[in-house]
């Protein structure tokens, strides 16, 4: 069965492995080049927060952005591809070609055929996702000492930790289930691409509720000093302590800004702060990184188990 699984799915396995290898080479090359640059150009004490390190930080930032733009699409596109090319054909193609009647009338029982394929390919998909996460996690710190964005930036968040593995597995199982639904590959592929996009948007909306947001009251500024925090909502707090969305009767003149300038808004905010208003921010601090990672991975694992159960049930119930 292991050989059968390999022989039937080796194209997907090899293409995915080649892609990850290519990405690995790219990331390694970029990290080596950046390290050399740092070694040659960094003033003493850099990289760091010192003013003298500014030029270095900009140069590293440019290098980072150039490489990131090459694979920044991966959090959304990679799971969709995994679902479409690993999941959808697993059963869809067998039904489509009628080969399920060959595969499921041998000595190996249908449940075993399905169990071996799901577990081997599922494990391969998880391994691929973890490898991606590992490579990205090793590569980013070379450029990003002191400025992290693994939590606040949802794209990066979905590419590190256990997220890629969870998403890849979910997409794979979703594609498999779609294959039993349509019994054809192409509609299953379409469903899995749409399904991954919808799931990702839904979980993005849902992620604010993974934990009770932290609350802090700012005075003098409306900006949280942690750039990696996830902002949930904000409100003004009147001097009386009442929280309001929009201050009314504050006596502060509010003029509309023109163009890209925000000086009128800033003046209005400064006036409010001067009158004893405070700015309440609800947010998730970056320290919740792993809590969010595991919550989302847990949701995806549960969904994968449910979809996998559905696929197995549909397959065993009506194998013909």
């Amino acid at each position: 069965m292991i050989w059968v699984t390999w022989r039937q799915h080796r194209a997907q396995i090899l293409v995915t492995a080649a892609f990850l290898a290519l990405l690995g080479v790219l990331l390694l090359g970029s990290a080596v080049e950046a390290s050399r640059y740092v070694a040659e150009h960094a003033p003493p004490g850099c990289p760091g927060a010192a003013v003298a390190c500014g030029d270095l930080a900009v140069a590293l930032g440019q290098r980072y952005d150039a490489v990131y733009s090459i694979f920044g699409w991966m959090p959304l596109v990679a799971p969709a591809l995994i679902g479409a090319f690993w999941g959808a054909p697993l059963l869809g193609r067998e039904y489509e070609r009628g080969t399920h009647r060959l595969a499921w009338t041998q000595s190996v029982p249908v449940w075993q055929w399905l169990a071996v394929k799901l577990s081997l390919l599922g494990a391969a998909v998880v391994a691929g996702g973890l490898l991606l996460s590992l490579m990205v996690s090793l590569w980013r710190p070379v450029f990003r000492t002191g400025v992290d964005s693994t939590f606040g930036n949802i794209g990066v968040f979905n590419m590190v930790g256990v997220e890629p593995a969870a998403w890849w597995l979910y997409a794979f199982v979703l594609g498999t289930a779609a294959g039993t639904l349509f019994r054809r590959t192409l509609p299953a592929m379409v469903l899995v691409v749409a399904g991954v996009a919808v799931s990702m948007l839904t979980l993005f909306q849902l992620s604010d509720h993974y934990a009770e947001p932290a609350r802090t009251e700012l005075s003098g500024t409306v900006l949280l000093d942690d750039p990696d925090a996830r902002l949930v909502s904000a409100a003004w707090v009147e001097p009386s302590g009442r929280e309001v969305a929009e201050p009314a009767d504050s006596g502060c003149p509010r003029r509309v800004d023109v163009g890209q300038s925000s000086k009128n808004a800033e003046a209005w905010q400064a006036c409010l702060f001067g009158k004893g208003y405070r700015y309440a921010v609800y947010y998730h601090p970056p320290s919740r990184f792993w809590r969010f990672q595991w919550t989302e991975a847990g949701i995806l694992a549960l969904a994968s188990a449910a979809l996998g159960g559905l696929a197995v049930r549909r397959t065993l119930r009506r194998p013909g």
């Binding site: 050989w3 039937q8 070609r97 009647r101 060959l102 009338t105 041998q106 000595s107 190996v108 119930r317």
Partner: protein, 281 residues
């Protein structure tokens, strides 16, 4: 002798429609059974139930020992080479005779290195049959094995299956809607029509037990069990079961297999089943 295949009160339903109902039959070991009937009669459904691709809604179907199945259109993995198809069979089965399979393909002149998609329809059918035979099954179930094959390939496939029969305790159940393909090779007949079983029995005994009568349409059929009758002008031709009628104007002869099958298919209410004494039961 215990039957190789036995169905009892078998009923299979697709959503609301019954594809097969109240089907009870048995095929004795060592027979080559022909499963005939028009399209949609339930032939494929019966076979899928026999090999476990379907769960019957009612009744049961039992195979003595292992069954091997060649589905309609002889599905194979097109991107596999013939050798890889053999490896597939080897790894998917507990009983597997690799040498016999390789030997059989060599005799048929099918190269092991060729991709399945590069084989002719006849060769693909032979590979599918070879895979099924290499499992050393007790029952070989073939769904329309001769469909889409040219006459030469039909003959080759049939002959090579029969050659395998000689060496082992094998029972074969094969379906076709072309009766003439089966005449030389089969010795058991199962007729399905509209999801119901019409005929099940040994071909020789069935042919011996029926008569084709021709006579004027005024002749009386009293005393005979008429399966079906057809008129051409003033001449009547009918298939009867058992003894001929008393009226001496009838001319009687033994039916051919095709006549027997057609006679029953034209009269879906008639049945010739073991344990049934009357026609039209």
């Amino acid at each position: 002798m215990s039957p190789a295949l036995e169905a009892t009160g078998l009923g299979v339903r697709y959503r609301r429609t019954w594809a097969l109902r109240d089907c009870s039959l048995s095929v004795p070991t060592g027979r080559v059974a022909a499963l005939v009937g028009p399209n949609g009669a339930g032939k494929t459904t019966l076979m899928h139930a026999a090999v476990g691709l379907l769960r019957p809604a009612l009744g049961s179907v039992r195979v003595a020992g292992e069954a091997a199945f060649v589905a309609q259109d002889k599905p194979l993995y097109e991107s596999f080479t013939v050798a890889e198809m053999l490896a597939f069979g080897r790894r998917m089965n507990t009983r597997w005779d690799d040498a016999a399979a390789a030997d059989r393909l060599a005799r048929l002149g099918i190269p092991l290195k060729r991709k399945v998609s590069g084989l002719s329809g006849g060769q693909q059918a032979q590979v599918a049959v070879t895979l099924a035979l290499a499992c050393r099954p007790d029952l070989l179930v073939l769904d329309e094995p001769l469909a889409n094959l040219d006459p030469l390939a039909r003959h080759d496939v049939m002959r090579s299956i029969m050659a395998e029969m000689a060496g082992q305790e094998l029972t074969v159940l094969l379906s076709s809607h072309v009766v003439s393909d089966l005449e030389e090779t089969c010795d058991w007949l199962v007729v399905l029509n509209g999801g119901r079983l019409q005929v099940s029995g040994g071909i020789e005994e069935l042919l011996d037990g029926h008569l084709v009568l021709t006579g004027p349409d005024a002749a009386s059929a009293a005393g005979a069990q008429v399966v079906g009758a057809s008129r051409a002008g003033r001449q009547v031709s009918m298939l009867v079961r058992g003894a001929p009628p008393l009226d001496p104007r009838w001319q009687a002869r033994r039916p051919g297999l095709e006549e027997l099958v057609m006679g029953y298919l034209r009269s879906p209410e008639s049945a010739a089943l073991p344990g049934l004494t009357g026609v039209g039961a």
